[in-house]
Symmetry: C2
Subunit: 238 residues, 2 copies
């Protein structure tokens, strides 16, 4: 499994992804699911991937191999997202039949976003079929993979006018909740905070096993929830 989430707000976009992949419980490995395509002062594109690892790696490898004429040359983020979708369709049409024969689920989902000079930051969810939707003011965040455990806190905190600091913190808390309830989502977490109009990657951090900050928010959050819980009045039975 996987958990990836990104939120588009007034001041930029925050991206976060875990790094655990598994094909059964006895085949667990670590792969980053955050792919960055950057041409400083011109564009920053971030691709988060969930689903069949061979498929997602196939797509990212092709995108990287063809980047100069491909997503680094695309004239808008919409065109770049279209290219991601088309590349996914290409990989699926190449590998799909063989995998389907063995009943292997080869589907995958992408979160794709960033900014091109001359455009505002934009954020997309590319579906297994290659089509996609774009986040907006009303629904500023997108999730793929194991999305449910970490959704309640985002629903409570993230708005389009939330500050980047709060959003970054919130996505980490969302990961903490997810990792407590689902073993197949695991550290390291890759976090990237893209500041609107920076047109380069300025804030990026990896939270690995034993990371002091991540342990601290995990403990503070846990202790805080217990405190709030204790303050809520007991049920009266009338």
């Amino acid at each position: 499994m996987t958990y990836c989430v990104a939120a588009l707000v007034e001041d930029g976009i925050v991206f976060a992804s875990d790094s655990r992949t598994n094909a059964g419980v006895d085949q667990i490995a670590t792969f980053s699911k955050m792919n960055i395509f950057e041409r400083p002062a011109e564009r920053v594109l971030v691709l988060l991937t969930a689903g069949n690892l061979a498929t997602t790696q196939g797509v990212t490898s092709l995108l990287r191999q063809r980047a100069e004429q491909g997503i680094l040359a695309a004239r808008s983020l919409f065109d770049a997202a279209t290219l991601v979708g088309e590349t996914l369709r290409e990989v699926v049409s190449r590998d799909g039949a063989a995998l389907q024969q063995d009943k292997i689920d080869f589907g995958c989902n992408f979160i794709f976003g960033g900014q091109l000079k001359g455009e505002p930051p934009r954020l997309f969810h590319v579906y297994p079929q290659g089509n996609f939707i774009e986040a907006g003011r009303d629904t500023p965040y997108l999730q793929i993979g194991e999305t449910k455990y970490g959704k309640p806190i985002i629903d409570r905190v993230v708005r389009f006018d939330s500050g980047l600091k709060d959003v970054a913190k919130c996505l980490l808390v969302s990961f903490d909740s997810t990792m407590r309830s689902n073993l197949s989502v695991g550290l390291p977490i890759d976090l990237l905070c893209y500041e609107k109009d920076a047109l380069r990657v300025t804030r990026r951090r990896r939270f690995a096993e034993g990371d002091a900050y991540f342990r601290e928010i995990s403990q503070l959050w846990s202790a805080g929830l217990r405190r709030v819980f204790a303050e809520v009045p007991d049920v009266t039975w009338g």
Copy 2:
């Protein structure tokens, strides 16, 4: 969709279920999913249901119709759970073929628990195939339906040695999180707190639309989460 949860602790069992059913977004209705079979001073049995409404109603109607010779006569909670599973298989074998033909998902899950005189309280999850598992000290709670949004708070709070008051409160908070993230789970919530060795229903309450207590915990929880969130330090980018 549906959300039902029950937790077996040292002092008894707390059961909670929502009341929303839907067959598509334009066919939403209210049905209680909590069924109680009681013979005061001898046994209390509670059945929570999730899944295809015709199937779950078929099972509960047959169980009730045959209760005197059936689950009210069963010699143990294990035997009663076996009867629930058998009745489910009977309904599925009667209706399954016709439903399968029209590709209708007729599966359902049950949480079934309570106490018979001479036994400790026991709690089971009956699967769509009619087999079942029993909760225990290590995993004291069971969920069916839309389980994920409400799981993190239970994972943090409920232990086998938790008090009934805390468990009742926690299950309500778990419902609050679920209802915020999934529209297909809705009020009223039926809550039943069975006190070990009572052998009768003593604490039962329904939280309907506008219930003052439920609104209060919902607001306090929301405000508390925001407060704790504000206390967690911001991410440092190094």
